[in-house]
């Protein structure tokens, strides 16, 4: 079973057709997907910028990250669920969109970046939590995340434009 078969199967499901053809649900899901960006990416930016040593240098990294975490997680939850619904409704068109694949690759890279950060430099955070400029590896993780999110938003917008 190829990826194309899976996408075709999804596209042909009753729920996919219903979502695609609905007058109200689809626009609401799409609108929520876009607006929840402010809560997900809009907040993760500040953690990334702090890791990069660009802002809030007088605050410990953990003091920026920890209180923001529940809000970011709620935001990302909303963004991912609505995004998955949009994909479900448009599976075949996504398959043919280069922007969709670019977006998926960047999402995976963003996930890998988070994992690498947490299992390496973040393990020793107590040593650098309060330094204005975190170690190079942490700063790179922040900048990589920022760059990827800009790319993901751009690819997502372009994808919708050309579907």
């Amino acid at each position: 079973m190829s990826i194309n078969d899976i996408f075709q199967y999804i596209d042909a499901t009753h729920s996919s057709t219903a979502l695609r053809e609905s007058y109200n649900v689809f626009p609401i899901v799409e609108g929520t997907h876009v607006i929840s960006l402010a809560l997900s990416v809009g907040l993760v930016i500040w953690f990334d910028l702090r890791l990069a040593g660009w802002i809030l240098r007088d605050q410990p990294v953990s003091a920026v990250f920890r209180p923001l975490r529940p809000f970011m997680l709620a935001g990302f939850g909303l963004t991912f669920v609505t995004g998955a619904m949009l994909f479900w409704a448009m599976a075949l068109r996504c398959y043919g969109s280069p922007f969709f694949w670019a977006k998926m690759i960047m999402l995976v890279l963003a996930g890998v970046n988070v994992m690498v950060y947490h299992v390496t430099i973040d393990r020793r955070r107590t040593e650098w939590d309060e330094t204005p400029f975190p170690p190079v590896q942490a700063r790179i993780a922040g900048l990589v995340s920022l760059t990827l999110w800009v790319g993901i938003i751009a690819a997502g917008r372009l994808m919708a434009y050309f579907l």
């Binding site: 607006i35 402010a38 434009y161």
Partner: protein, 160 residues
């Protein structure tokens, strides 16, 4: 009142800039991409400042200090969003004129800008004792809802 504005909308649409954006293959799309990026940056700063006023984040830093530090990012995000929004509008002004979502967006936008600069920024930068905490929080909440209203109405322009 709105009817009398139509000639101006038509004029804007027929400027060289309006024509240029419509005829270019990428201008409109790129403006949309940056509109969304600017909006994400700007709304993020509004949310963080509101969360700080509520005492949920950055308790180690004063509200005024947080507002000051966010300011350049906030202004940058808002500037990008407004500039690209103006470009998008210029290319399809008459469509916007007849679009009910656009009218709501402009209404929310005026109120949101007012609350942002005369409300949220003011209570955030004032001495902590000057405004009642409840008044500050209410201002923050209204400002956040107005900005999300602007974003929702903006998204809805495409659906009408």
């Amino acid at each position: 009142m709105w009817d009398r504005l139509y000639p101006y909308f038509l004029w804007i649409e027929n400027t060289r800039l309006g024509h240029g954006i419509r005829e270019s293959k990428w201008a409109f799309t790129l403006a949309e991409v940056f509109h969304l990026l600017g909006l994400t940056l700007f709304l993020g700063t509004v949310l963080i400042l509101a969360l700080r006023l509520f005492g949920f984040v950055l308790q180690g830093k004063s509200v005024a200090g947080t507002a000051r530090e966010l300011m350049p990012w906030s202004i940058a995000g808002l500037t990008i969003t407004v500039l690209t929004g103006t470009l998008l509008f210029t290319s399809e002004a008459t469509k916007c004129w007849g679009n009910v979502a656009f009218r709501y967006k402009m209404l929310f936008l005026s109120l949101a800008l007012l609350f942002q600069f005369a409300g949220l920024q003011r209570v955030a930068r004032a001495d902590e004792q000057r405004f009642h905490p409840l008044a500050s929080k209410a201002t923050a909440l209204v400002t956040v809802f107005l900005w999300f209203g602007v974003a929702a109405a903006g998204r809805a322009i495409a659906f009408f």
